[in-house]
């Protein structure tokens, strides 16, 4: 166990190092940070002086060593745009992203399990086929398109007049398809509850939850089909196994068989995949946050790129790298605990 943790921590350090080197190496391609800091009419000399002051004229190696020296003391530099330590900026934006991920995960959990199980138990039912069809469509639509459509329907509202208004059925169809809109389309709203530190939460007020609905649904829309399919496939496999057949022969009720015996074993691999996917979801938040002007780290990162705010870009990449390393380590630990035949360090026992 200890050996495993030591191995993981050294891996994490290596990952951080590689990320920081890569981030530093690409900074030349990201453009000139000065462009966002001075007006167009500022003279070349003034720019040169500022560049010198920021240390941008030093060679890449010198700049990296300076950065690494500070980083070892926990200082990842100051953001050019925010004028504050980058870690502080990230800490301010991270809660918004985490709430988005939590909200989307909840939606995924509460929808994927029942739908997946249903589709596995009754694979031939038309409803099951419908869910599988919809999930194929869902998996192939990019998240920003989903988001824009959701905003149009539930935020702005649409008026449908395709059917003849003078017939009863036409009026009914028009009415049924027309939406009023009204859901907030951007930001987190005004009523945030302060939890601790930089964490202001939207989960504790109606307004906050209303603001969460559309972004979370959009974000969930990419992962939901994946999980439905995963649960369905796993469940179908488990249902074929001997112990389930034995349970049936024994005459246990199908509810007990499906939800107690089969589901338990289905969920094992799902949890593993889920843990890894949370990390992937953090990456997907970049798109979702842009469309909904959600003030999280994804949006912050994208804006940092357009502004060539290099210290913030480097710090973000390192923090996200750290999140990936931590979630993967946790998943491995949990897996090891659940399934004792897995050896953490890969050595012979």
């Amino acid at each position: 166990m200890l050996a495993f943790l030591v191995q993981r921590i050294s891996q994490a350090v290596l990952v951080m190092f590689v990320i920081s080197v890569i981030a530093f190496a690409i900074q030349d391609g990201l453009g000139d940070p000065l462009q966002e800091m001075v007006g167009m009419s500022v003279s070349m000399e003034e720019r040169e002086a500022l560049r010198e002051e920021l240390g941008l004229n030093d060679s890449m190696v010198v700049q990296y060593l300076r950065f690494a020296g500070n980083a070892l003391q926990g200082d990842l530099g100051n953001s050019y745009f925010y004028g504050k330590p980058t870690l502080e900026v990230i800490a301010e934006h991270l809660p918004a992203t985490l709430e988005l991920v939590i909200g989307a995960s909840l939606i995924i959990m509460f929808l994927s399990v029942p739908i997946g199980v249903y589709a596995a138990i009754k694979p031939q039912a038309w409803l099951a086929k419908f869910f599988m069809g919809v999930s194929t469509v869902g998996i192939s639509i990019p998240v920003f398109l989903t988001a824009i459509v959701l905003i149009q329907i539930y935020s702005i509202g649409i008026t449908i007049e395709w059917f003849p208004e003078d017939t009863g059925w036409g009026r009914w169809l028009n009415g049924a398809l027309t939406t009023e809109g009204g859901l907030p389309s951007y930001g987190r709203g005004d009523e945030l509850t302060h939890l601790f530190g930089t964490w202001y939460s939207g989960f504790f007020s109606t307004d906050g939850i209303m603001h969460l609905v559309l972004p979370c649904v959009s974000l969930a829309s990419i992962m939901l089909p994946l999980f439905i399919r995963l649960i369905r496939a796993e469940m179908m496999e488990v249902l074929q196994s001997d112990y389930i057949r034995y349970a049936r022969a024994k005459g246990l009720s199908s509810v007990r068989i499906n939800f107690l015996h089969a589901l338990k074993n289905t969920m094992l691999p799902v949890i593993t995949v889920g843990g890894v996917q949370v990390g992937v979801m953090v990456a997907y938040t970049i798109l979702t946050e842009t469309v909904f002007q959600w003030p999280g780290v994804g949006l912050m990162f994208l804006e940092a790129i357009t502004r060539s705010d290099i210290p913030l870009i480097v710090a973000y990449l390192m923090v996200v790298g750290l999140i990936f390393v931590i979630t993967n380590t946790l998943v491995d630990l949990v897996y090891g605990l659940v399934n004792p035949t897995v050896k953490l360090t890969g050595k012979k026992a």
Partner: protein
């Protein structure tokens, strides 16, 4: 699922209804710009966002009116004492947000600070000093006769000298202008303007409240509270207005103009702007561009009206010169001259009938449709056998390339900080000279000392009629010489809910005077 969401939407509508009513009673304005101010220190950066903030929380000595005239704000009156001196009389009884009384000492403090500011010192370079006469009278002195004195005075937004003097708890000077990192002035603000900054979460939201002791009691403005949210994504900004999430947005992307026009609850205001979009033809890199006939051929080959109509969807005014209408240098006689036959003829005369190959560079996220404009221009040049190798880049990478003059033709948009024609010439067509900074953005390397001398003469000419004639002549000569290829002036667009009367407070400089905004 659908029912569930419908029910959700229903309860939502019920829940928000009372809130909407009370918002109207207190006249709260929710607005969304594409960005929020980078800092609260209005001398840290010269940019549109900072000037918009300046007009909300500060007042200038004088400000531009809709028709590009001047209107006194903190300056009650002004008169020329001699060629080089202008005497200003200040409004009395004006208070800063901090409660301090506003007098000439604050003007002096602000003037000195502007002279220090990296971004503003160039604009204030013609000034040689300020003479304080008494608490409410002072004189601005220039080293040469300076016709643009009032234009420049629109940049003097007096700061609260007492508030910005002294040291912070950790021993830093409060008046320091720091480009990056935290300074006192970048987080704290005290001006005389209509709105006090209540809270600010950079990049997320900013709240303003009307200043209870605001001096301008005749202002019709009835907005008590402003919430500014930066929404960078065009689509999201428009959706926020259409869904009722905000009351006022700017800018409106050209692709959504029709959508807003169709919406019965929204109002759209557009205006022909003052930012010129143009191409430079680099004579140092391409031998052929040294020949005026080739340059003219390029100018004849580019269809400005086509670009404005098809690519900009009418959201631009085709240009044949740099100065927009209303500027002294604007020369009515110059018209776009699209004529492919003529262009081919000129190429033939110049001995380039078979054409040549050039590189072209343009940004792809700086100006409206900038990359598409460049693509269209490249296609148009193919018709006179100029093959274009086009490269478009994000702005952060484009400007370093621009500074290196990496392309044979490069696109740039320019807005004159002084709202005056001479500024265009100084930056875009003056003979490039590293020391003085003349022609800093002249990527064509076009150089005509005679024209430069004429502009220099106009710059010390205080007789408006004479000056106008000079500047118009400059435009004419640049046109004849085809020093560059002008494309269009980018239009401006704002949109609001019907009850928010934005039209009277908007202007071509894009500083909405929100203090005077009326919400019905």
């Amino acid at each position: 699922m659908k029912k569930l969401l419908a029910a959700l939407v229903g309860t939502m509508a019920l829940a928000t209804a009372p809130v909407a009513l009370s918002a109207e009673a207190t006249k709260e304005l929710k607005m969304a710009y594409d960005a929020d101010p980078v800092t609260l220190d209005i001398h840290e950066q010269l940019s549109g966002g900072i000037l918009q903030l300046s007009h909300m929380s500060f007042d200038p000595l004088v400000r531009w009116t809709k028709d590009l005239g001047f209107e006194g704000r903190l300056a009650e009156s002004w008169e020329r004492v001699d060629d080089k001196t202008m005497r200003f009389k200040l409004r009395e009884g004006v208070k800063f947000h901090s409660g301090n009384e506003f007098t000439t000492k604050d003007v002096k403090f602000t003037y000195d600070r502007l002279k220090e500011s990296q971004d503003f010192k160039a604009i204030f370079q013609p000034f040689s000093g300020i003479n304080v006469i008494d608490d409410y009278t002072f004189e601005l002195v220039t080293s040469e006769p300076f016709p643009l004195l009032l234009n420049t005075a629109t940049y003097i937004f007096p700061l609260d000298s007492q508030f910005y003097s002294g040291e912070t708890a950790d021993g830093k000077k409060k008046s320091a202008i720091v480009k990056h990192g935290n300074s006192f002035a970048s987080d704290n603000l005290s001006g005389t303007g209509p709105f006090v900054v209540k809270s600010r979460q950079q990049g997320v939201r900013m709240e303003f409240e009307r200043f209870s002791d605001y001096w301008d009691e005749e202002s019709p403005g009835n907005v008590k509270k402003i919430v500014l949210t930066p929404i960078k994504e065009n689509n999201t900004r428009v959706s926020a207005l259409l869904s009722g999430g905000v009351d006022f947005i700017a800018p409106v992307p050209p692709t959504d103009l029709d959508r807003i026009k169709r919406d019965k609850n929204s109002e759209l205001v557009t205006m022909s702007g003052t930012r010129i979009i143009l191409f430079h033809m680099n004579q140092e890199r391409v031998e052929a561009f040294k020949n005026p006939k080739v340059r003219q051929a390029v100018a004849y080959a580019i269809n400005q009206e086509g670009i404005a109509a098809k690519i900009m969807k009418g959201f631009a005014t085709p240009a044949a010169q740099m100065s927009p209408t209303g500027y002294q240098g604007h020369n009515e006689s110059l018209k776009p001259r699209y004529d492919v036959k003529k262009a081919q003829q000129l190429m033939k005369e110049a001995g380039y009938e078979d054409g040549f190959t050039i590189t072209m560079m343009a940004p792809n996220n700086r100006y409206v449709n900038d990359d598409k404009i460049a693509q269209a221009a490249a296609a148009m040049l193919a018709r006179i056998n100029i093959k274009v190798d086009l490269k478009t880049l994000p702005k952060a990478q484009y400007w370093p390339e621009y500074d290196n003059r990496s392309g044979d033709m490069m696109l740039i948009g320019w807005h004159a900080d002084t709202e005056d024609s001479a500024n265009f010439f100084e930056f875009l067509t003056f003979c490039p000279e590293a020391g003085s900074g003349a022609g800093q953005y002249n990527a064509g390397n076009y150089c005509n000392p005679e024209i430069d001398a004429l502009v220099a003469k106009a710059n010390v000419e205080t007789d408006i009629e004479k000056r106008t004639a000079m500047l118009q002549e400059v435009e004419k000569r640049l046109y004849d010489d085809a020093a560059f290829v002008p494309l269009h002036w980018q239009d401006l667009a704002w949109a609001s809910k019907k009850n928010v009367k934005i039209e009277p407070i908007l202007n071509v400089m894009n500083f909405p005077f929100l203090g005077d905004l009326v919400i019905e």
